[in-house]
Amino acid sequence: MPSDREPTRRHSTGETSAERSSEFTTISGHSIRRLYSPDDLAEWEPDRDLGLPGAPPYTRGIHPAMYRERLWTMRQFAGFGSARDTNKRFRYLLAQGQSGLSVAFDLPTLMGYDSDHSLAEGEVGKCGVAISSLADMEALFDQIPLGNVSTSMTINSPAAILWAMYLAVAEKQGVDWKNLSGTLQNDILKEYIAQKEYIFPPKPSMRLVIDTFEFGARHTPKFNPISISGYHIREAGSTAIQELAFTLRDGIEYVEWGIARGMGVDDFAPALSFFFNAHNDFFEEIAKYRAARRIWYKTMTERFGAKLARSSALRFHAQTAGCSLTAQQPYNNVVRTALQALAAVMGGTQSLHTNSLDEAWALPTEFAATLALRTQQILAHETGVANTADPLGGSYFVERLTNEMGDAAWKYIRKIDDMGGMIPAIERGYPQREIADASYRYQVSVDHKEKIIVGVNEFTGEEKPIETLRIDESVRAEQAAHLVKLRAERSNDEVSRQLNALRKAAQGSENLMPHIYAAVKSYATLGEICDSLREVFGTHEEVSVT
């Protein structure tokens, strides 16, 4: 009979054996038994719980033929220095066979500051590309036809503004917005929970997000206005089950707000997308993705009454786990990344970023970024895992683990429902505390060598430094000069007019996208637009949970 307790160590042959440990758990602490067998699926009904790929409940994937029809998008996150520097790296990666773009912005941009702001000192271009205005966005996509390449933008608090810049570039290129493909991360809830790149308080931030849903539903049907993310929640130290549960509960929150705005669920739900981590524990990750699809299907149909298949088929991007990569023996990271990528593919991801070996030291060198891309290409073309949909379907272990993770996630979802939703939960520090506790527990287990990290707490050796990418302070000076020129050449009257109109609209409840778009086209800077919104919305400061 299946049981959570380790059975007596007696094999069916009557032999006993000593195991290496008194307990075996996933990296998240989930108990794993010696063997899984038909008994573990006694309550499992394939028709209800498994289905077929491309059919409810989507456990096996969201397309019937999966990668036989189309490989996942190889979408490497990239960005550093100036728009010109990043444009060059984009065109290089596309030439190397990457199939979609993904933009990393620097911290000032992420936080809604221009490159010449006092708080931007030392930060410009260091974590991503510096974008202070539409002029920078134009340089970023120079020689890149937006009608032919899909672009994902990792931007949250000022997402609406960066999106408006992107749309303006598309318009300039003569691309019909209806043909624009891409994704905005734009998931503010996980900022309060994990990534901490918030500007405004929750309610006005949610208003901005729903404005993008509305605008997107009308103007950009192929563009995902949101990437509801678990990646960052996991990077902050959550367990896989917490990543799964908090991400989907964030999704539920966004759907509720969309409906409250007056949209029909099928009007905006098809454009929602997700973003998960691809961490070390191979089977836990695969089970996580499968459980995610099943939970989302049930939620969208039963809780929200969605009718369209596309409303309940969970589409996701995955990124291999940055937090698992080590500063020590960095070449080990190539192996980690390959195995994590394999899990994402066997779990049915639609899009994938593989990290570079120098992750713990700096932004990727061209060499490291290329090797990361080649990892995906080898996976796709040499391993055979793309030949069939959901290759692990029917495995006693994987199906059982999928069930266990799903059940545990539902418990969290109900708990947050009982708190009144994700925003009340965030206000009481609930997900933040769960994450802080999980991350501390993990660190303690590593410090005690209960969890081994090769090259770090075991199998250590002499370290040889590697070459890393350096970004110098000249980017800030360059950007500052550009901004002086921009402010001199634009119509400052027009900018004032647009910012006033935006401030007025922000005080009301109309959709802000058209106003933001007009402001962006007048070459109002990111900082100027955000400051206008700060004036109306205020700013958010968290109560730290350690």
Partner: protein, 133 residues
């Protein structure tokens, strides 16, 4: 006579929002019996130096994963000097390239703890360092 507890300020300078490491260290030092004050995110060097003075700390632990360390750390060290707090031990953790380590130590950082450092090593270092002071 109760032993005076070591007082540590854990700070996140600059715009960087990655707080997993800072929070773990804060908790580990607290569990080791130290008084720990965590500043929270997005602190300017001025805010950190003021907090260090107000809290009369023995140690400041900085966490920087943004690449802004060569700007923010010297600014903080300068402010500490101005405020007569040069005796405070300054520690740094985060994403610090190998090539920058010597320069930061020369400027006054007592030790740099890279990704993979154990919390016990940090606790031991702080105890030893403050005992010598």
């Amino acid at each position: 006579m109760p032993e005076k507890r070591i007082r540590v300020l854990i700070a996140k300078p600059g715009l960087d929002g990655h707080d997993r490491g800072a929070k773990i260290i804060a908790r580990a030092l607290r569990d080791a019996g130290m008084e720990v004050i965590y500043t929270g995110l997005r602190q300017t060097p001025e805010m950190i130096a003021s907090a260090a003075v107000q809290e009369d700390v023995d140690v400041i632990g900085l966490s920087i994963l943004s690449g802004a360390h060569n700007t923010l750390v010297p600014q903080l060290l300068d402010l500490l000097k101005q405020k007569g707090m040069s005796d405070v031990t300054v520690l740094l953790g985060g994403t610090i390239p190998e090539a920058d380590i010597a320069g930061l130590k020369k400027a006054g950082v007592a030790e740099i703890f890279l990704p993979g450092a154990s919390t016990q090593d940090i606790v031991d270092f702080v105890r030893k360092r403050v005992a010598l002071a």
